[in-house]
């Protein structure tokens, strides 16, 4: 026992042991590499006229804030308490029962207590109590109140950009307190000081200017889709002829630009093109793409309500300009939360459009009679139900598919059965993940709400663990090798997450599966799927 050299376990114990603070307010914030996204590019901030554009670095001690930043925050806070009942009620009624504590994918993955939804909200509540309640002002820390300081601001920034606004905690909260809403308000406040991340700010500026997040100009957009048509022709012998910016078309189609510009969303895009072509040949379907409204996603939603409205306005403006009857929307997550819960309120009423009716089946989409925008999963499910599509699901027989419910369509809409119905009709092998990881309890991909950058990879991987863990389970149990989803951010983020956690599983959009199964009129016999991989049973022929 009198050994002078410390035993290795003692050394490690010293390094390893975390100080147990009784009070989370005492834990200083440490902005850690791999867990945060780079600060916004001043050019992007300036382009859309948001406050305080400047070069800044979250690791610096000086964030170049405006002189009166505390006053700006206070006023902003006050204004939002009046404008949003959600915010005010959620600031007041939390009883800290702890039901949400272990529901957040970031908490589950990182183990950082401040990622418990209740604490994320308490970051704001503590300041709210100090600034807006008497008890907080008088009793201070005893009442859980603290004044706004630079340290608190850093904490806000760090943790509000570690929330993907997925709303899973809200499902379990007895009062429906929605951390997404609190994060949205918090980020709005941070934006008043110019504290955004670039992965959000630059897509916003691009989208405002060019119509899509990547800043793709109209000719490149058309070239890209042309190229998909080349590919489809090569695979099927049939060349779709999509229409762009066509006035007088029946329907306007809007999908996230990720489907046009990023793998594997591009294959989903090919699926849309094939479906539209099929419907055009068989039933005279008349749909147009738009280069102006070429983005379904809306990173303005991750900036402020105002920015969301500014970007979203293009959908109705373009529908009006083109004189279409209604709008069809592609597979995207937060895009659909915006369309479902915000668009009509912000930029409606869309009285220049007609109540959506499927020109092929005659189905009246009564659930979309005011917003006049239909989800493509609803549209395709209806087509299949009415037997309007000729399908060969065996062309997806090389795939053992599971379905990841994207956060927003499940918890901000309830689009659960439609995509499942479509998948089951176009695939023969479908397996569900465990019940507490799908539908309204689905786990986020870990990269939503503008966090799918490269520099925050550790955060994304940790946050993606709960989802990947469930995928791994069905991979091991059922041999699942394909993760289907209806969200462009999922299609961008999940492949990365899968490469780290379950490399045997790839990611697809639902309409890629539709494209594979759909038998186009007059097509040649296919030997490969849309990715150019040999179809099951075609391997030998391909070798010849």
């Amino acid at each position: 026992m009198a050994d002078e050299t410390p035993k290795p376990e003692e050394l490690i114990a010293k390094i390893n042991h975390r100080p147990a603070f009784e009070d989370w307010m005492q834990v200083p914030v440490e902005i850690r590499k791999g867990m945060y996204c780079y600060a916004s590019n001043p050019k992007s901030v300036e382009y859309v006229g948001l406050p305080n554009p400047r070069q800044w670095n979250p690791l610096d001690e000086d964030w170049k804030l405006p002189e009166n930043w505390k006053e700006i925050l206070f006023e902003g806070f006050r204004e939002r308490l009046e404008k949003f009942r959600t915010f005010k009620v959620f600031m007041d009624i939390c009883v800290r029962c702890g039901a949400c504590a272990d529901k957040c994918h970031f908490f589950i993955g990182t183990g950082d207590p401040k990622n418990m939804p209740v604490l994320r909200a308490e970051l704001l509540r503590s300041v709210y109590r100090h600034d807006f309640t008497k008890a907080g002002r008088i009793l201070g820390k005893i009442a859980g109140a603290r004044p706004m300081t630079f340290e608190v601001l850093k904490e806000w920034w760090y943790y509000l950009f570690q929330c993907t606004e997925c709303r899973r905690c809200s499902v379990f909260c007895p009062y429906g307190i929605d951390t997404a809403e609190i994060t949205i308000m918090g980020r709005e406040l941070l934006n008043l000081l110019g504290l955004n991340i670039d992965w959000i700010a630059t897509p916003v500026a691009n989208c405002y200017r060019t119509g899509n997040h990547l800043g793709i100009q109209p000719h490149a957009f058309v070239d890209m889709i042309d190229f998909f048509c080349d590919d489809i022709e090569e695979i099927t012998g049939i060349r779709p002829e999509p229409q762009f910016n066509k006035k007088g078309a029946d329907i306007l189609f809007i999908t996230p630009s990720g489907d046009v510009f990023a793998d594997p969303g591009t294959y989903t895009c090919m699926g849309y093109l094939m479906l539209f072509h099929y419907l055009k040949e068989k039933y005279g379907f008349d749909i147009t793409w738009s280069t102006y409204a070429s983005e379904g996603g809306n990173f303005g939603f991750f900036t402020s309500h105002e920015m969301m409205k500014r970007l979203n306005s293009k959908m109705y403006m373009e529908a009006k300009r083109l004189g279409v009857k209604w709008i069809l929307g592609g597979e995207c997550g937060h895009m659909w939360r915006v369309i479902n819960q915000y668009m009509d309120t912000m930029n409606g009423p869309a009285d220049f459009l007609e109540e959506p009716v499927s020109p092929i089946t005659g189905t009246r989409f009564e659930n979309a009679r005011s917003t006049k925008m239909v989800h493509i999963a609803e549209f395709t499910a209806d087509l299949i139900k009415h037997g309007k599509l000729e399908l060969d699901p065996s062309r997806n027989d090389n795939l053992r598919v599971t379905f990841h419910d994207s956060c927003n369509p499940s918890r901000g809409m309830g689009l659960l059965e439609e995509p499942r119905y479509v998948i089951k009709k176009v695939c023969n092998h479908f397996y569900e993940m465990p019940a507490n990881t799908i539908r309204e309890q689905t786990f986020c991909c870990g990269s939503g709400a503008g966090l799918n950058a490269g520099e925050d990879m550790e955060l994304r991987m940790a946050g993606g663990l709960p989802r990947a863990n469930a995928v791994k389970y069905v991979h091991e149990k059922h041999g699942v090798n394909m993760l289907a989803c209806i969200c462009a951010i999922d299609r961008a983020a999940l492949p990365t997450s899968m490469q780290y956690w379950v490399p045997e599983v790839d990611v697809t959009g639902v309409h890629e599966l539709v494209g594979n199964a759909l038998i186009l009129p007059g097509e040649t016999e296919r030997t490969t799927d849309l990715r150019g991989e040999d179809l099951p049973g075609m391997e030998e022929e391909a070798d010849e």
């Binding site: 003692e10 390893n16 183990g111 950082d112 709960p466």
Partner: protein, 177 residues
């Protein structure tokens, strides 16, 4: 009683203590959830570590080569590589087993088995080195993903479409306005 037999007898207790020691590397309030939540989908970290440690210990008892234990070690290290740990913290939990085993032996009357113990500890050391290899692999993968995610998705699609040069030229310049 020979060492292996003793350790096998005490396996449950040793693995429990090892698990608790690893959990102590997390914030105390977090550790409680990681320890108590038994649903593997609600608690991937806790369950993966618990099951992993048990399997790894079994491997040590069987005298399996460290490389063979790598597949058991991988899920644990993969998780700790993205959490708030330094490299030594992320992998050092292997050494905690030494102390637990020594403590276990101290409580036994015939603890004069130095040679078998040292042999067992050598296996633990080898395992720790393997853990570091895996840790580096995970980190490299992370860096690789950081760099390649855009190339893999966006630029690959552009390249397929033959647009890659055009885009470089027509890169949106926000200064225009």
């Amino acid at each position: 009683m020979n060492l292996d037999k003793l350790l096998r007898e005490k396996k449950r207790d040793i693995v429990d203590r090892w698990f608790n020691a690893v959990m102590d590397t997390y914030a105390s309030d977090t550790a409680v959830i990681f320890k108590s939540q038994k649903d593997r989908f609600a608690n991937p970290v806790g369950i993966t570590i618990r099951e992993g440690l048990s399997a790894i210990f079994e491997g040590l008892l069987e005298g399996r080569a460290a490389e063979q234990s790598a597949s058991l070690l991988d899920p644990l290290i993969r998780i700790r590589a993205v959490q708030k740990f330094t490299p030594s913290q992320a992998t050092g939990f292997i050494f905690l087993l030494k102390k637990i085993i020594r403590d276990t032996l101290h409580r036994k009357p015939d603890n004069g088995q130095v040679a078998p113990l040292l042999r067992f500890e050598d296996r633990i050391d080898a395992l720790a080195l393997t853990a570091f290899d895996i840790y580096m692999e995970c980190k490299e993968k992370i860096y690789d993903l950081k760099v390649s995610q855009e190339r893999n998705s966006i630029y690959r699609a552009f390249k397929r479409a033959g647009l890659i040069t055009e885009v470089a030229e027509g890169e949106p310049d926000l200064n225009v306005h």
